[in-house]
């Protein structure tokens, strides 16, 4: 990989050798560089987990908050300053488990941000328990008889909630993943990219080979504006389709609607001045 303006010198990376996260980091940096964002206009918001460490390893503003809570913080950051490019990024446990409720409502709310989810179907940082996307029957030291729960299907859930943009990539295919990531970041509205990646230390089922064998790309004639078709493809599990499932371009982002009625429209809160006169008038409206 060539150097980008997002490279951080002297970053000590805490991921296991061979981890899929390295690929995601490289693709992210390359995509951002290709889109020519200045790092100071970019905010990465993450939760907790191995994936959530990613902002530590590139040059950007970041808010590395609480487990599961990346999306509420990201939504507010975008609302407080719509001029920022905001990416919420974390793992499957953080976004779909601990933060599941926020995921649902962030999709409904539709802030203009990109939601990148590293989906390795396992908990890495806590050493190998089932995640919301673990397949049924998958054995772990906790799920000793295999996972009993139906795996969470993020794409189907998001499309059911009429998400603005939904895609899935497999990180081994750097070129395609990068192309889709760029489209997601450019998209105006909530853009979900579920990123298949292996966990080389704890998940010996969903390996590089497994992902290679169990994924394929949506055909060129798949129409991403067709919600029903998108949903039908999202619930395929025999093999998992990759690509942009669904996209709509006419949905106003949350912060634009929120700021529309305020003085000066949607603009950064730090540029607004408190209006003392209005407050005095408000007090006077309570006078007899």
């Amino acid at each position: 990989m060539s150097k980008t303006r997002f490279d951080l010198d002297n970053a000590t990376i805490a991921w296991c050798p061979g981890c899929g996260n390295f690929g995601i980091l490289n693709v992210l940096k390359a995509s951002l560089a290709a889109l020519q964002f200045p790092p100071e206009k970019l905010v990465l918001v993450s939760g907790i987990g191995q994936a959530a460490k990613i902002p530590q390893y590139l040059k950007c503003n970041f808010f590395n908050g609480l487990h599961g809570r990346a999306l509420p913080a990201a939504t507010a950051i975008k609302a407080a300053n719509p001029e920022l490019t905001v990416i919420a990024e974390s793992g499957d446990g953080c976004m779909y488990g601990e933060g599941g409720n926020h995921f649902i409502h962030a999709v409904r709310r539709n802030p203009d941000l990109t939601c990148l989810v590293h989906n390795n179907m396992i908990y890495g940082l806590t050493k190998g328990q089932a995640s919301p996307t673990s397949l049924r029957g998958f054995r772990t030291p906790v799920q000793v008889n295999g996972v009993l729960l139906e795996p969470f299907n993020p794409l189907a859930a998001a499309i059911a909630l009429n998400v603005s943009f939904a895609a899935r990539v497999y990180i081994k295919d750097i070129e395609q993943a990068g192309e889709i990531l760029q489209q997601a970041i450019r998209h105006r509205g909530f853009a979900l990219v579920d990123i298949f990646q292996p966990c080389v230390t704890f998940n010996h089922l969903n390996t590089y080979e497994w992902f290679q064998e169990n994924t394929y790309y949506l055909e060129d004639d798949h129409d991403p504006s067709d919600r029903q078709a998108a949903f039908a493809r999202a619930i395929e599990t025999e093999k998992y389709p990759l690509g942009i499932f669904y996209r709509q371009t006419d949905k106003e982002p949350f912060e634009a609607v929120l700021g529309e009625h305020l003085a000066g429209g949607p603009r950064p809160l730090y540029q607004r001045e408190p209006d003392r006169e209005r407050l005095v008038k408000l007090w006077e409206s309570f006078c007899s």
């Binding site: 460490k53 530590q56 970041f62 809570r69 507010a76 950051i77 305020l262 408190p274 007899s288």
Partner: protein
Amino acid sequence: MREDVAIAICGQAGQGIKTLESLLARVFSGSGYNVFTTRELMSRVRGGMNSTSIRVSSQRVRGFVRRVDILVSLHPGGVAHLGDRVNSETLILGDKEAIAEEERKRGNFASVSWKKIAGELGSPVYANTVAAGAIAGALGLDRETAAKSVDKFFARRDEETKKNNRRAFRQGYERGRETAKEKNLSFSPGPGGRVGGEALVSGTEAVAMGAIAGGCNFLSFYPMSPATGVGVFLAGRSEELNIEVIQAEDEIAAVNMALGAWYAGGRGLVTTSGGGFALMNEGLSLAGMIESPLVIHLGQRPGPATGLPTRTEQGDLLFALFAGHGEFPRAILTPGTIEECFFLARRAFLLADRWQVPVIVLTDQYLLDSSYNLPVPEIPEEKIENRIIETGEGYRRYAPAEDGISPRGIPGYGRGLVAVDSDEHDEHGRITENFSVRIGMVEKRRAKFSKLEEEALEPEFFGDEDYRTLVVGWGSTRHVIRESLEERGGKGIGGLHFRQVHPLHPKTAGYLRRAKKVIVIENNASGQFARLLKMTFGAGDLAGIRKYNGLPFSREEISQALDKEADNE
């Protein structure tokens, strides 16, 4: 004749008690009187039994009294609902059919057939206006002045409605006049026209306006009684006040949104009650770690768990103090007056911004749902300073600073990068497990405590400077304690009201030391503030007057309890 009248209105949820309360308050203040209102209600939308209490006087009236001089009962069971607050002196106004005979006998009953009068005017909705008229008549208010207030109250309605309300009020007024003549009442509000141009404002409204005065421009909240009103108030005026209001999916989202807003240059508020605050605890701790300003309005209600959702208590003091894992500084402000609701909500934003800490404004249902008239406060002319800096290249969010407060940059303003991390972090805001960096950061955060202590508000003293007995209260008990002490006017007794409970002002120790006896009055069962005083100052024996049935202290209750304490000496 006593010139201070206490009125209670009783009825089911959905019967328009609140409208009648607002109408009466408007009529009284329009007639130049001081007004105080407060309400107690059940956690239901229809039915049950609720009441509102109104005081009207030519003197300042600002606290809850048990006594009921006039009771308006809109539904059977209303008299019984108020229990022994009603006695033979209480003038009970009501429809004969709506009040059982045994209820009528409990007081001095006078029939006003508001249903019938309203029916003749074409709709039962006018009944409450008839009732307002009857009260105004019984109290001998100037009829024309009062009628003008009624017109104003219904100013936005159509002509027909306005006309009927006017007639309803007049008919009620005449009946009220007759009643006053028949009954020879022992109370009156005194001469009218003494007060003018003052604002009639509730605790809820004052907290919301105080936040705006502090530069608040972002609110995220999840509805929870009794703190919802602040959100509703600001949402309803979001365009006028230029504030972004988000109803979050839960309180966890709400607090994380507020932190996101501060991070990106907004000034965020959350408003909640105990249960929601419990969900916010991890976010509170995050504010401590990333040294983010945050303002939390915590309107208390009785717990544990769902408790009594629409009632009042001061049961979350120690919870607010110790909430959130780990060690980090905070401030807790406890307004006791409507003025303090306004100025302390404002102050919360200034403190939070200046010291980069979470600040909690701790109120309760009683205070939030109480209103009285006050002069429009002087809002300081000075501009609210947004303490953010334009960053330069190489900006470090947690750079050492002389006063321990690292200049706060925000993303997108300047050339620097702003990194904050819930993990322990270095000066750049990046994750670290270096133990000496850890120690430095712990001490950096801790140092802010003494800064907050230097800025702590002194408790307010009233009564005899040469006190032997010191009566201590915090938050919403301020007016009832003060009125009670003023009423006794005794020598050797003083009162101390705390509008900030953390950090406590260092002068507190001296106040406690000078007293022979300290009595701490609290709306909770375990004496939380007394425990805090002991913990902080090693204060010895503290007597306690406590109440925890879900209702606020009345002035009479405090007076009686103080009498008992005095007898014990």
